[in-house]
Symmetry: C2
Subunit: 705 residues, 2 copies
């Protein structure tokens, strides 16, 4: 079933859910808190929207929004905001490209970038944007390809093979990027087709000090005063892409109490995991993640301290790792709250009891032992957690490329449906964009990071670990890293291309030090991955699938799936919140920015970017700068447009407040807030701070002031 | 020992403390956290100041500051800021007088007050200001008057009698207001002599919406944007008081990191109470206080809702009760933290162990059973807590006056040293100022509040309670209140004066309904007070005294006494703080005020006062508005000057942040902050918002810009 609109799918699902709910009154409907939900476009909570807001999007409204929504394939969201292919996202989504486009003496991160004509717009090295053009439910197709009597690891392989056949056929048939998306822990599979754009040019980015004002302390904080936006333009055939579906710029932007939607690509949530899985995350998973992230942070800062150029090169990595540490620390705090796990466990127990007591229903019965099996697999995974975490095959850029090239050669020689997912035909174009990117890689940085990574592996896994043995061959981490980096030509994209295009033979014959090294590691990687897929993933998928089906049987499709970096719609309203004994205002203004700068004595990270400071007397200081909404978002939603009922652009998501971080596991309904840049601030800054009047005019059209 | 300077006292104490510490190494010195302490001027922590800040005030510096510091006798602090007797305090300290000076159609609370020449300065009805001119240690004198073999209640009477003799003699001898102050739970007694001023005129007060911007939600909150200041002038002989000791206005005001002092009159802390007493407060005392405060709040709001004039009349009461509820709720939250009580209990246990194990030391031995005795008295007090709380003899203004007049008549007939403390000769002048105040009292408001109070008493104590029987005589609360208010002439100050001056005979013969009523209640009051003084207070004092002596024996005088609404000096520095994962700036600016107004859509209480709004384009918005310091303050410190090392005025204390409220029981050393109006904001507002240029000139002198 292919759907360019979502309305009829929605209707079908609602009817099915209603029928199921009538049949199954044993178990209560899962409770949605406040404005919870990252909804797929085929299954909006229509009744709830009607009851609470008196507004339900039409199919036309949804189609327009979907086609104006953009996925940044390196991890973020955006939207078309002019008919000439102009795309708006966050500065911090653009940061990776800005870093890659910069060089010594040309620092777009620090100085910003401003194309004052189309001629000055410059191409990004390896940015891929996706627009979702169709969705198709392929759950039945995949179910048919899996033999329910086969062993779980064989079922897993059958499923993967079928997915690979579906995506390959779709790509061949439509020329579109085709992904099969697993939703509801395998309760549904959907084929999502994307129009893919790879000629993307940078139009404008503020200086990082204006975009990321307040730095790490203010990250995930509100009130906030950040100009976290950047503009790109999509080109096709060397010309700006002409499009029908772009968001109209609202004349006034978001106002308090307005109902608003966020359309974007939330990356990952764990709201449907079992209690045992969450307990594992709490006790082992997240602490280990943070341990490694903090090592990375140490490594980046150590490198950055070597000099100003090293500092410049490290900027996006430091941002990324600080951001991750703060976000995951917040998630971890959330999991440490016993009330949260208790509530999730109570919901799980009610479903487990229904499954245990089920007499006739085969779906509920089938799930009886699933929770225990998932817990067992989780335990097995936990026993190898150090190997999984510290065997870092892609810890540095060039080492990751070498490993990928060796793997590519072997995989490409296999039939499509036997390959690892990322080497299937449908994924190769995106992969090659990344593999052959001209973005600079810095040997001294690579050597520094590789040595540190190998040291950590040796330290944590010991000298007898297979990975450590293969990676070090008895040498010291520093020696090995030095030898490898000195002995590789992979910094040159042409070298990488030659190897990949030479196929298995070229990879086997190469004497490049890193390729030789990667060949030696390959069997370790493959063995570990096979163990994971056969012993762990197959159980998570098969038993997760049974739980998902039981949940569907009990509740109908009255909820939304976990986030999967695919397009979702969330709804909510612009609203301040109580905090402590006081009230946090829904909006900040440029006044607030200057208040914070003066109040802190402009001590970094609270110093003003020089252009901002210089523009102070020109700025309308009452202009709304940032604001908060109750929408349910998470990392990956960065750069998502906030739109009003009219479908107009009123703001730009760039963060969540600290209270929202628990959202990886559950939506907190009193103080969860998404944080956005106000549409007025983007215009005001473009005009008064950056003198980008043509850009402002392109946004508003000639009719708006 | 009379001291006009504190330096030599300081020296003596330090030596004594050092000697004691050397003798007693069993028990650790009590730990001072951060910038903890409300220090008496005779006992500054000299070594700590030297070590931490490299600055110790000289005797001249201290004398000057003391003589420039002013106590507002209705509960607050202030300072002289010009040679012409100009006094600066908080708007909320001035609020009571502003309310009393207003009338229907003349609302200084809402509209502010601005004397643009000395002729326009108007007299306050009943404001008394005090300046501390000398301090004398009378501990030994009082000890000598108390027979250690007598029963505790007799000792209590002996002590009170001696205090009354000391104060009477001092008043007669010096003409100064003379108070004996109990410090360290009776470990020391000091005679404080004050110059008293009663011709106080109002010079300037902003509108309450500017002074109390953000209202109750932002009270005890930071960041903050309040112009909480007001000016009075002291007159003597119809002329402005000419003084030598006033604070010089700092040219730049407080800067980040500056060492600052706060000189003022913290009202009450309970840091030396026993753990049993604090547990009582936590379990009964504070909840009961809040219960009654919330009833008051309900009563005030019900009255205020009757019309705009009623709302005007209620403004200061509503402010007061909301302020109290928020402050005490914060204290209560503090006590609910088990870690706090645990830490206090650990310190207490270490002293108790030393006392229990003491072999030779008579002082330590004497305290052995004191903690248990205090706990027992506390328990006995708890058993009558409802009577103590709900027998409200002064619940309304006029009812309180009636009861006081009846008591006055009886007490004045006794010898001075047999009277209740408040009727001793040394206190009569202040009392009469209050009793005969021309401030308006509103009969309908009195009737409303009296009826409610009597209802609550009936409800909580039952019809058979002695107070209820005497107060209602079988009538309903509404009937009785109506009859009493209709039948009294006490709204007229002349009537009150006639009665007081008529002595016992006039009070006994009066047929004024309220006086008759108060005569009927008098025996209930006296019986309850006698029980409290004999059974409870005498134990708290005598046993508290033993504990205090044991503490002195163990630690020396290395700490400060609980707050007693007497002059104290606290030290600290201007500093922001970490909160959650971010950083709270040390300063706000006028920008922040406008940010909050726009960000909240100016919804009350975040609306701007019209004069402030109108002045926006004239204001230097970068001017610092409010700021925070680490100083240890509490209610009563409101209006205290913040001064720098040079002794110059750099800010005006008006609040503490929410994290400081636990300060009633302990100083929280990471986020406790005192909140102040910046000296620059006072000047900027006086000039640009209120056009008070002559006032600004009087502050700065002609030399400053």
């Amino acid at each position: 079933m292919t759907r360019s609109g979502a309305a009829s799918a929605r209707k079908n699902k609602t009817t099915r859910a209603a029928a199921m709910a009538a049949a199954m009154t044993l178990v209560a409907t899962p409770h949605l808190r406040g404005d919870e939900g990252m909804w797929t476009l085929d299954n909006l909570p229509v009744k709830l929207l009607q009851d609470r807001y008196g507004f339900v999007p039409t199919p036309q409204w949804l189609d327009h929004l979907r086609l104006a929504s953009v996925r940044f394939n390196d991890g973020g969201s955006g939207s078309f905001v002019s008919k000439d292919g102009l795309v708006l996202t966050n500065h911090h989504v653009a940061l990776g490209q800005l870093q890659k486009m910069s060089a010594e003496g040309k620092d777009y991160v620090k100085e910003g970038f401003f194309a004052r004509s189309r001629q000055e717009e410059i191409a990004c090295p390896d940015l891929e944007l996706n627009v979702l053009v169709s969705l198709e439910d392929v759950t039945a197709k995949i179910a048919k390809a899996v033999d329910p009597e086969a062993a779980q690891k064989d079922q897993n392989e059958q499923r993967k093979a079928e997915i690979s056949r579906i995506t390959k056929a779709s790509t061949e048939q439509t020329g579109l990027r085709s992904d099969v998306v697993e939703l509801y822990q395998g309760g549904e599979y959907w084929l999502y087709r994307y129009k893919k754009y790879t000629d993307i040019r940078l139009v404008m980015a503020p200086e990082i000090q204006a975009a990321f004002y307040g730095g790490d302390p203010d990250n995930f904080t509100y009130p906030r005063y950040a100009l976290d936006f950047a503009f790109f333009r999509v080109y096709e055939g060397e010309k700006p892409l002409m499009i029908d579906h772009f968001l109209k710029w609202s004349a006034d932007g978001a106002a308090e109490g307005d109902m608003v939607f966020v359309s974007g690509h939330p990356g990952h949530t764990d709201r449907l995991k079992t209690a045992a899985q969450l307990e594992y995350e709490r006790d082992f998973g997240l602490p280990l993640y943070l341990e490694i992230a903090k090592k990375k942070r140490r490594d980046y800062y150590d490198y950055a301290r070597k000099g100003p150029e090293q500092e410049r090169r490290s900027k996006d990595r430091i941002f990324g790792v600080e951001n991750a540490i703060k976000a995951v620390s917040g998630e971890y705090e959330g999991l440490l709250d016993p009330a949260l796990l208790k509530a999730l466990k109570a919901a799980e127990d009610s479903l487990r009891e229904a499954a245990a007591g089920a007499k006739a229903d085969p779906i509920l019965k089938a799930a009886r032992s699933s929770w225990d099996k998932i817990a067992k697999a989780q335990k097995a995974l936990g026993e190898r957690r150090l190997q999984t975490a510290y065997r870092r095959f892609d810890a540095t850029k060039v080492a990751g490329l070498a490993n990928t090239i060796v793997r590519y050669a072997a995989e490409a020689a296999k039939p499509n449906d036997k390959r690892y997912e990322e080497f299937r035909e449908s994924n190769l174009e995106s992969l090659r964009l990344r593999l052959f990117s001209p973005a600079p890689i810095y040997p001294d940085m690579e050597e520094h990071l590789l040595a540190r990574t190998l040291e950590d592996a040796l330290d944590k896994l010991g000298p007898k670990d297979e990975f450590v043995t293969a990676a070090l061959g008895g040498g010291s981490p520093a020696q090995v890293a030095h030898r490898l980096i000195a002995g590789t030509k992979l910094f040159d994209p042409a070298e990488r291309k030659k190897l990949v295009e030479g196929g298995e033979k070229a990879a086997a014959a190469s004497t490049d030090a890193l390729i030789v090294w990667a060949r030696g590691l390959d069997y370790v990687y493959r063995a570990q991955r096979k163990w994971y897929e056969d012993e762990i993933e197959s159980v998570f998928i098969a038993e997760g699938n049974r739980v998902a089906k039981a949940r569907f049987a009990a509740y109908g499709k009255t909820t939304y799936p976990d986030a999967t970096f695919t397009l979702r719609l969330s709804y909510g309203r612009v609203a301040g919140y109580e905090l402590g004994t006081t009230f946090v205002a829904p909006f900040t203004t440029f006044h607030g920015l200057f208040d914070r700068a003066v109040g802190t004595g402009e001590k970094p990270p609270f110093d003003l970017a020089p252009r901002v400071k210089a523009a102070k007397s020109k700025l309308a200081l009452d202009t709304k700068l940032n604001f908060v909404t109750t929408n349910d978002i998470i990392g990956g939603n960065s750069g998502s447009p906030v739109i009003d009922r009219k479908g107009e652009f009123v703001g730009l998501i760039f963060d969540g407040n600290i209270q929202s971080l628990v959202g990886r596991y559950a939506y907190e309904d009193s103080r969860n807030r998404a944080v956005a840049v106000h549409s007025s601030a983007i215009l005001e800054a473009a005009r008064k701070i950056y003198g980008m009047n043509a850009l402002a005019l392109e946004l508003t059209g000639p009719s708006q002031p």
